[in-house]
Amino acid sequence: MLYDIHLEITYSYEAQADAGYHLLHMQPAGIDGMQRVIASSLDIDPIPPERIPGKDFFGNQFVSIAFHDPVDELAFRLRARVERFAPPELLDMSPGLADLQREVRQTTGMTGDSPVHFTGQSPRIRRVSQISRWANSLGCETMSAFQAVGAVCSALHSEMTFDPEATAVDTPLETAFSNRRGVCQDFTHIAISALRSLSIPAGYVSGFLRTIPPEGQPRLEGADAMHAWVRAWCGFEMGWVEFDPTNNMMAGDDHVVVAVGRDYFDVSPVKGTMRTAGAQLSSQSVDMLVVDGGKN
């Protein structure tokens, strides 16, 4: 599937914001066998005096920018063309949860995709006992790891209501969970927390979602802004699988990956804030359209 992606994120500051630093995770990733970036350009307005590309611990490309002088408006515009390959049929080769835990302990890799980074706590995900209790009530102990991931994400999808008004970017996951309302970021954080409490290594994927569904299918939730979903490690044999709890589906050719990390902290599209005395407004818009001639 061939896509054209447009992303625009803008900020405007009531009082001029002080000089600032940002780390940007916005551009689609090139991933062998999964997606290919044909073209990608990121315009920043005003043009920052410093702009340095880099690669982070988890293998994501980022751009680091700096403004030396105060700015009152800031806009990021991304245009990209990406080919997303249809995912192969998955065979469940994952072990049960106890064996999975043993496999994690046997891991001797420390690189960014090693499961050891995705257990326990991470900057935005603490242990939440109510989420652990909920996850433990789903009867996953007799399932394979892969089945358990599906069970957790589906259960979450059926209990949670997608509601952009219910949470903000910094709402703690326990709040979103106890209200059972939130957006893709909340669905994803809660799913990660639940999976980790079952000793399934789980992380965060940020990316884009196809805006207009194929004919006859419902529109996906979360397509108006950058999207988020879960990746979970299902053992040495099967590796990482991606599941979108907001839409109760495996991430497939409707999903284009930008970055992966332990949680939102690692992959937020614009990291770092301007220091400003006044209020700030921000907006985000996303389009991910199938290119004519691409197979539908």
Binding site: T108, M110, V116, G272
Partner: protein, 799 residues
């Protein structure tokens, strides 16, 4: 060893040691296993025994007085507010033989080299994990292992430059490492002060005892840091979290002692991958940063977005290799307790032999065999968080001692099974005891040593002694300073005399010319406000004294001039009906807070004068009566303020910092003088207001000599506004400001700053006017223009 065995004490110090009791099964520094005094203590005890109880008391008092005069304190965080505590000095030094010390030093150098290898592996290939020596989970869960720094090679080639080890002596007499301090260890500066204080107490004993000096260690480290700089005029800076940190005193002290710039996060900025310090002369490069801030707080962008203690982009600057951080960011990963369980195996793996000084036996409960062993030996185990960086005797609330939780209930072994990966067990240690003084007698107290190591071009240098923690009671658990423990000097003594060696005596780098313009903006801002607050206090004191003199003369506040003055004082936010108003105390507190922010640039005498002013004002606040009593109290405060001003302005080197202090004083005096001139020369002002202006303006004598006439509006305006010979006059102070400003660093592309231009405009206006040209409305205009000086200064130099 049998600690209850007979003490065999020479008669000379029988009295001294009458109450000295060692504990069974615990080693002692003073007495050997057979109860004999160790030879290394004989010299000290002989001389100590010759002290009368009075002599001893005086000796201790000298040490305490030294610490008080030097203003040594540490901040104590208890329930509620934090407070500054006097340094808890235990006066009796711990004495160690040179030969034994050499063994300690070489063992710790060996450990330091091992830790350098380990941390280098943590931030590069992770072979220790890859080869199965260290479980991946132990590193992945380590909160001090900072992923954004993986793959970043330190510019200096080394991760560790200044570290410390806490060590203790076990029952068998051998030393054990209790903790590795590789983040940003504190205590070396306190050790210097402890040494100075102990030397004051026992100067003659020390001279006879051939005690190893500490200064050489600091000189070597200073020269090593200077050697790490780029050859571009860049600086070495020490990054402190600021005055609210528990060891800020030490940061300021070390900065002053070594001659390095002390900065806070807000002073730093990253530009094009380079680390810069904001100074009054603009951004200047820093190529070596000795951080006294934990790594995760150095960069709000990539490490901890809640931090206000670092600078955004610092991680990026490290990635680009533009400066050396001491110790490298992320070096705290070596401090976690769980790592100690693997150090013996790692040593064997990397060097092929065990370390010559082991760390205390430690088991990570995430391994099955270890877990079983720990559960089978619960009674002699201390179990705590695997990722804790506390010392073994500093327990977290979740600690399990001898199988019991803190509330005394036995731990459920199933709980340990479930939480195994998060737990580490250590063999409960009994530390050796050493003499401390209590109620006139020597008693045995548990102790641990902190040993500092600094990297030099020739390898590790070990600070010879200086710092031991002494427990407050018999048990090892009370050794932490926060829990009432104290600190003693450590004397490493040899048979032959030591060569004299102080930091001042010689320096390999030669004379460093102090550089104007390298004053960090935060420091400049604090000095400016210190100048303002002290001057403001002085002005308020003059107003209040005049007020109470009027009350004393008339016995009532109801006369027009008293009412008028009272209203004027009230408009300044000060309540004239209180004999010593709270606002005055607050201004003094503000002055002290500003001074506290620049302790590294300040003499102890100046600081003590300020503290004395505060204490006196507080004491007066509780007891003075309105009228004559208060007037006299204010005269005393005025003299104390003058004492401070004299100390600072006469004795402070004319660095840029002194100029900011002076600018603060002049700006405040200009603003205050204009304020009361506006009020007291107003047409509505009652009879006596002109005399009052002259009195508050401290110009009675001058007025009498210059004008052989009665006090009139013209004479007042002339003397306090336009007279450039009178240091109380606005024009004179504007000229002072102008002189200061001429010495401030020029910015690129500007011949004069907005601050200088405003001064010149005011000088021109005043020097071409006569008193008759300045009616009330013109005076108000001048006040408004002068009122803008403060923000123009900030705009011109403090951004």
């Amino acid at each position: 060893m049998d600690g209850t065995s007979q003490k065999i004490v020479p008669p000379a110090y029988e009295r001294l040691l009458a109450d000295y009791r060692t504990l069974p099964g615990i080693a002692d520094e003073l007495l050997d296993a057979s109860g004999q005094v160790r030879p290394v203590w004989h010299g000290f005890l002989n001389e100590l025994a010759a002290f009368s109880p009075d002599d001893l008391e005086h000796a201790f008092a000298r040490g305490n007085q030294y610490l008080r005069d030097a203003g040594v304190f540490f901040r104590h965080y208890g329930p509620g507010a934090s407070t500054e505590r006097e340094w808890p000095l235990s006066h009796i030094p711990l004495i160690i033989k040179r030969q034994e010390w050499e063994n300690i030093a070489s063992s710790l150098m060996e450990r330091a080299d091992l830790l350098e290898q380990v941390i280098a592996d943590f931030y590069s290939e992770n072979r220790l994990v890859g080869e199965g020596i260290l479980p991946a989970g132990v590193l992945a869960a380590n909160p001090e292992w900072l992923r954004p720094l993986v793959g970043v090679k330190p510019k200096s080639g080394h991760f560790l430059h200044f570290i410390a080890f806490d060590i203790g002596r076990g029952p068998d007499g051998n030393w054990w490492v209790l903790g590795d301090r590789t983040q940003a260890p504190s205590g070396s500066g306190f050790a210097l002060e402890t040494r100075m204080a102990t030397a004051r107490s026992f100067s003659s004993l020390m001279n006879h005892a051939n005690v190893a000096r500490l200064a050489g260690f600091f000189r070597q480290f200073r020269d090593s840091l200077l050697g790490l700089r780029e050859q571009d005029g860049s600086r070495v800076a020490i990054l402190t979290p600021g005055p609210l940190n528990d060891t800020y005193y030490e940061h300021a002290y070390i900065a002053r002692y070594l001659g390095f710039m002390l900065v806070q996060g807000s002073d730093l900025a990253v530009r094009n991958g380079k680390l810069m310090v904001r100074t009054v002369g603009g951004l200047k490069p820093v190529s070596v940063l000795w951080r006294r801030v934990d790594s995760e707080w150095i960069d709000p962008l990539e490490l901890n977005d809640e931090s206000r203690l670092g600078a955004a982009g610092m991680t990026g600057a490290l990635r680009s290799g533009s400066f050396t951080m001491v110790n490298a960011a992320g070096s705290g990963a070596l401090e976690i307790r769980a790592l100690m369980a693997f150090i013996p195996k790692i040593a064997q793996h990397l060097t092929g032999k065990p370390l010559s000084m082991p760390n205390i036996a430690t088991w990570w409960c995430g391994g099955n065999a270890e877990l079983d062993y720990v559960k089978a030996n619960l009674s002699r185990m201390l179990i705590d968080r695997a990722m804790s960086t506390r010392l073994p005797f500093d327990h977290s609330p979740q600690a399990i001692l001898s199988g019991r939780m803190r509330d005394g209930t036995p731990v459920d072994p199933g709980w340990i099974d479930v939480h195994g990966e998060d737990l580490v067990a250590q063999e409960a240690v009994s530390l050796s005891t050493t003499p401390a003084f209590s109620n006139g007698k020597l008693v045995a107290r548990p102790m641990s040593l902190r040993v500092f190591l600094a990297r030099t071009p020739n390898g590790w240098s070990v600070m010879p002694g200086g710092f031991a923690r002494i427990g407050s009671s018999g048990g090892s658990a009370d050794i932490s300073m926060q829990r009432g423990g104290s600190v003693s000097d450590v004397w490493v003594v040899s048979d032959t005399p030591e060569t004299q060696d102080t930091l001042i005596a010689s320096s390999a780098t030669g004379y460093l010319r102090p550089e104007l313009g390298s004053l960090p903006t935060t420091a400049a801002d604090n000095l400016f406000w210190l100048g303002r607050y002290v001057e403001r206090t002085e002005h308020s004191v003059r107003l209040l004294r005049a007020y109470h003199l009027r009350l004393a003369e008339t016995g009532t506040a109801d006369y027009p001039i008293a009412r008028f003055l009272g209203d004027h004082i009230a408009r300044r936010g000060i309540d004239p009906d209180t004999a010593l108003p709270a606002q005055l105390l607050q201004d003094i507190e503000s002055a002290i807070r500003s001074a506290g922010n620049v302790r590294d640039r300040f003499s102890n005498d100046g600081w003590n004068a300020l503290v004395d002013l505060k204490n006196t004002a507080r004491m007066f606040a509780s007891k003075v009566q309105a009228g004559d009593d208060a007037a006299r109290a204010y005269s005393i405060l005025l003299r104390k303020i003058s004492g401070f001003s004299g100390l600072v302005h006469e004795n402070m080197y004319r660095f840029t910092g002194w100029r900011f202090l002076g600018i603060g004083r002049s700006v405040e005096r200009i603003v205050d003088t204009l304020d009361f001139l506006n009020s007291f020369t107003d047409e509505e002002a009652p009879i006596g207001a002109f005399e009052l202006a002259i009195e508050v303006g401290d110009s009675i004598m001058t007025h009498r000599r210059r004008f052989a006439v009665e006090t009139r509006r013209e004479t007042v305006v002339d003397l306090l506004l336009l007279d450039d010979m009178n240091p109380r006059a606005v024009l004179n102070q504007l000229r002072v400001l102008n002189d200061h400003a001429a010495f401030l660093p020029a910015h690129e592309g500007e011949r004069t700053t907005a601050f200088q231009r405003r001064i010149m405009e005011l000088v021109t206006a005043l020097s071409t006017s006569t008193a008759n040209d300045i009616p009330s409305d013109r005076l108000a205009e001048i006040s408004a223009e002068a009122g803008g000086l403060s923000s123009l200064l900030a705009e011109s130099y403090l951004r």
